[in-house]
Symmetry: C2
């Protein structure tokens, strides 16, 4: 059993801990947190050993009635690998701690690429990272993960001459009431390209991609408006088929009448998903359209959870000899990735193929 | 003096009436409205003869203390041309009324293109419409106007191989409290292309353009994320210069620190603009970027007002022999279009040229 430490127990950290706990070959060595808030209390009740990430705040955990299993160093010593899920920029500061104990570590996409020896997306470059023997690996951000998952198969199948995407980003997560905007549509960043295109190139180095970022008053998911100029012509129905074959792409059937992220979240909650998570890219089948060699589609990306299965795969890529396909299947099975499992969902998806087929009318 | 009737006195109608009243060669023959709400009362106080558009509601105007100058037929008889500013779909029903009196009419972009004999955008096709002797002319919608104003000069200067735009649309106007979404990012329409690209082709028939629509929880302006594959290479600074030369494009200087529509509206209000209107496309100078032959930029479009000067020009195109350039200058002067008039604004714009020049670094 791989013993996995999780440093940082916020939006990503708590999901990574649960995803690790669900794997047959992994267990949670413990989680580290700076403050004993409601999330720390929940971690304790879930049975995860809670470590005080800052020695000077250890008393606060005692005061809050959250038993402290140790400090951050103790957690690193207990762990075969640490998944750093601390806020952007803190991961870079933590690398020295992991190196001091010669413990491999994963970092999140909020860190600069140079925090680690390699950047990772299971669909794009699992094998390269595994072969590199990199022990410090950065899992790319939610948006970059979302782009990589569709651009990799499109490039393999049709060749990508140039990809262009406008990322209509949520202003903050549901648990970030202090973020904005309230009533505005912000070019963010106002300069072009945004960092997402170059970030895709950390896992797909040869792919031409330009991205533009916009931030809006919503919290549920990002929405990507994607254009790909393909190297070869393709029917919309064939592209839909290509994306259907991707285990972490959910092709939203046209007749499911999913208007946007709120419906997707509702669907995930109705399906009993933990926290209503959507680990998959959600691509609207109806939106897939081809004009000449220009492909267009919309996809929604759940910023809180799409990187979670990627972190699990990255653990195996760094610590084991498991191959990409095997790891992805295992991760998906343990988490329940894919809406195609139930008879009912298969029916909805099958009905949706009609809409898909007609998208290129 | 051209006597102009305005049928429909909502968001667009009241602005068109004021813009007509500001022109030296036009006067407002009267306005027609279906209900005697706060806007009807304001029209009366401004001195516009208020007509009851529906005979069966005429008593309601009396009850509300808004004197009725006549019915819709009376207004059409009084007018040399009627600008129909009724809700989408009603204009088509009204055409028979205007034809019955042999009175030319303008329609708004919410109507289908076939409501009229020609579609109009001053920058794209004033001369063609004037030469056609069309008496029923549709002024294209706010988004289509915004796209046409930049694509026409880019096509003339560099050639447009293909334009692609994601239109991040406001959910509703500030005066539409019943519209949504509240916390969502909707593909709208989910099918690609949205109607905007084909609509651009009603005024620029030979231009290749694909558009995607997204609707978000904001009310102030639309935001366009624009990509144009040019036929010839161009420096970002040269493109900025091309757009600066357009009288209805406001190149937002980088050092003005305009984060988004809210800042633009604040700026327009500080400048004393009526209703804080922004008649110009607002293009962020900092956003103008070129990768190979791919040009990118962001522009904000004020859905309530950018078509207002276009309606004024369309009146002249239909009713007079005024040439395009002369009409545009006259309309701009009378309304105060352009932020380059004051010494202070010239200074801000001049400072901004530094940011523009560095946009292609």
């Amino acid at each position: 059993m791989l013993r996995v430490g999780v440093n940082g127990y916020g939006t990503i950290g708590k999901r990574v801990a649960d995803a690790v706990a669900a794997q047959p070959d992994m267990e949670v060595a413990g989680v580290a947190k700076t403050t004993p808030n409601f999330e720390a209390e929940a971690a304790h009740r879930r049975g995860y050993p809670v470590h005080a990430a800052r020695e000077d705040r250890r008393d606060a955990f005692d005061d809050a009635g959250v038993p402290v299993a140790g400090d951050l160093d103790d957690l690193v010593v207990e762990s075969d690998i640490v998944v750093d899920c601390t806020p952007a920029g803190i991961g870079a500061e933590n690398r020295a701690v992991y190196e001091r104990h010669d413990t491999p570590a994963l970092y999140q996409g909020g860190e600069d690429a140079d925090v680690a020896d390699a950047s990772f997306n299971a669909r794009a470059n699992y094998d390269e990272v595994a072969a590199s023997d990199a022990e410090h690996v950065r899992v790319v951000s939610c948006n970059t993960t979302g782009l990589s998952r569709v651009l990799a198969p499109l490039d393999e199948q049709y060749g990508v001459e140039k990809a262009r995407a406008t990322l209509v980003r949520r202003g903050g997560d549901p648990s970030q009431p202090d973020r904005g905007p309230i009533n505005d549509i912000l070019p963010d960043p106002v300069t072009v390209p945004s960092h997402h295109g170059p970030d895709v190139n950390t896992v797909l180095p040869d792919l031409a991609v330009d991205t533009m970022g916009v931030t809006v008053p919503a919290t549920l998911m990002h929405l990507h408006s994607v254009n790909v100029t393909l190297e070869t012509e393709a029917e919309a129905a064939a592209v839909a088929e290509t994306l259907t074959d991707e285990s972490r792409v959910f092709l939203v059937p046209g007749d499911a009448r999913v208007a946007g992220p709120a419906h997707l979240k509702e669907y995930a909650q109705d399906a009993g998903r933990p926290r209503g998570d959507l680990w998959e890219n959600c691509v609207w089948a109806e939106s897939i359209a081809v004009e000449g060699r220009d492909l267009y589609f919309f996809q929604a990306i759940h910023q809180e959870s799409d990187v979670v299965p990627e972190n699990v795969d990255a653990i195996r890529a760094v610590c084991t000899d498991t191959e990409a396909a095997e790891s992805v299947v295992e991760t998906n099975r343990a988490l329940g990735v894919g809406f195609g499992e139930s008879e009912e969902t298969r029916r909805v998806a099958a009905d949706g193929e009609g809409a898909t087929a007609s998208a290129d009318d």
